[in-house]
């Protein structure tokens, strides 16, 4: 079930695999020219495989509080 249809998604505080499920759910409805900004506790290395397989680009930014912000968009 999609938890958040907006282009901003906060999955901090959720146990695995819920962050991955919510992110993939949000990406299913992401418009072609839009991007999804994800806030997450830990760098989600397994997510990158799924994004690559699904044709997405991403940029990860480490935050000063130890969490991560990931900007995901469809590959051009």
């Amino acid at each position: 079930m999609c938890a958040n249809m907006a282009h901003e998604l906060d999955v901090r505080g959720l146990p695995p695999p819920e962050p991955l499920e919510h992110i993939m759910c949000a990406l299913q409805t992401l418009p072609v020219d839009a991007y999804l900004q994800v806030h997450i506790d830990r760098e989600p290395y397994p997510l990158y495989d799924v994004l690559r397989d699904g044709g997405f680009d991403w940029q990860t930014i480490a935050q000063s509080d130890g969490s991560f912000s990931i900007r995901i968009s469809r590959s051009v």
Binding site: G13, P17, D41, R42, P46, Y48, R52, Q59, A62
Partner: protein
């Protein structure tokens, strides 16, 4: 803020770690059979061939099998750097480790030097391949965190433990004159205090907050603990080089080691008491049992230092460390990692609907049964050096643990295969 990007293939095929996990319960069965078919109580004499054989079944066949398999998955997931040539590394590690871990206990039990001389080169090959691939993975990792440092130090400790282990095995088989007591102390110290403890410490920094929803480990502790443990281990090794080590020096170095290990256990228990979701969870209980086991191991080890004439205290400390701490943690991690792997590989394989819930992959009731069984094994093992009947209970419980864990892993594998068959996919 720091921008990170990563574009390499991360997760290895599920068959890579699963073959290690599937083989591990067989060694619990083997250890149980060795303890059953012995002449007298093996726990009463720490140098008995049966205890030596059963211990190596557990440390090499069960624990190393799980740790080497888990590392194939941990390196890409927690430090973002997959193991180099994972399929080749697996073949160079899995089969030599499997055969070496069968031959070495057989050599001890049957007093056949030829089996030991076959075992140690195989074991050397397995660990050299694993250590080389791990060090390359660590060097290429984009992550520079406390977990990476702890894993690196654990691999360095493993390297020393393996060299000493091969030397001891060769000497034992050929009857060479070696300072066996000192070498064995250094081997055990690097293998258990270094490789096992440091790897668990490093992985816990990620796994405990992530899966158990606790606060993060304090930064000062996470960055300082693993290097401090490693330095204390090195100091302890240096004191072994002395012709005659003053007893107070042994008390200081070992006291420092157990103090640091207890800090880790206490901090983890404290973090677990602050977890955000307070639901009963067998894997969490395995972790808590492990941390309490580590603290009790520390107490008995310190008591053994002050009462050096009593062998039993040292034996109980070793039992608490191996079965209470390390084995409890391995069970807890397996019951978390295996369902996640099954879920992730189905999810990644394009199964959009019908991916089983994480808690449905291995039924919770089986995990709780295993926890109670493991508690019984531990309790019996604590009394086994005094009470012969308890040694039989340990053997029986280990046998049941091997069967139960093997069955739980088979359930997970069959869930994975059934789901793939339903959607017509191929298993990697």
């Amino acid at each position: 803020m720091k921008i990170i990007s990563l574009n390499t293939e991360q997760a290895p095929p599920i068959s890579v770690p699963m073959r290690f996990f599937a083989a591990a319960p067989l060694f619990l069965l083997l250890a149980a059979l060795i303890l059953m078919f012995r002449a007298d109580n093996p726990f009463a004499n720490i140098h008995s061939p049966a205890l030596l054989a059963a211990t190596h079944c557990i440390t090499l066949g069960f624990m190393a099998m799980i740790m080497l398999g888990a590392m194939q998955q941990i390196l890409p997931v927690v430090i973002g750097s997959p193991m180099l040539a994972s399929r080749l590394t697996v073949w160079l590690t899995f089969l030599p480790l499997l055969s070496g871990a069968l031959l070495l206990p057989a050599g001890f039990m049957l007093s056949k030097p030829v089996l030991i001389n076959l075992a140690w080169p195989l074991m050397g090959l397995a660990f050299i391949a694993f250590i080389s691939a791990s060090l390359i993975s660590l060097a290429l990792s984009p992550a520079h965190n406390a977990t990476r440092t702890a894993i690196l130090l654990s691999i360095l400790a493993l390297s020393g433990a393996i060299v000493l282990g091969m030397l001891l095995a060769h000497g034992y088989a050929t009857g060479s004159l070696l300072p066996y007591d000192k070498l064995a102390t250094a081997h055990i110290s690097l293998a258990l205090g270094g490789w096992v403890l440091l790897l668990i410490v490093g992985v816990s920094y990620q796994v405990v907050p992530m899966f158990q929803l606790t606060p993060n480990y304090p930064k000062w502790l996470a960055s300082g603990l693993a290097p401090a443990i490693f330095i204390v281990l090195l100091l302890n090794l240096l004191t072994l080089l002395l012709e005659s080590r003053p007893y107070w020096l042994a008390i200081v170095t070992q006291g420092m080691f157990w103090f640091l290990a207890s800090c880790f256990a206490l901090t983890t228990l404290n973090l677990q008491s602050k977890r955000r979701r307070r639901v009963a969870d067998a894997t969490l209980s395995f972790f808590r049992l492990g941390m309490m086991g580590l603290m009790c191991a520390a107490l008995f080890a310190l008591a053994a230092l002050f009462f050096p004439d009593t062998d039993h205290l040292g034996t109980v400390s070793a039992v608490l460390f191996l079965l209470g701490f390390a084995m409890s943690l391995m069970h807890g991690m397996l019951y978390k990692i295996v369902p996640f792997l099954v879920w992730f590989h189905l999810f990644r394989g394009g199964v959009k609907s019908g991916v089983p819930n994480l808690k449905e992959i291995i039924p919770e009731t089986w995990k709780w049964r295993h926890l109670w069984l493991h508690r019984s094994t531990l309790l019996a093992a604590i009394f086994a050096s005094w009470w012969n009947a308890a040694a039989w209970v340990v053997a029986f419980c280990l046998l049941m643990e091997g069967l139960l864990l093997g069955y739980a892993l088979l359930i997970a594998i069959s869930v994975y295969r059934r789901t793939l068959e339903r959607i017509g996919g191929d298993s990697p």
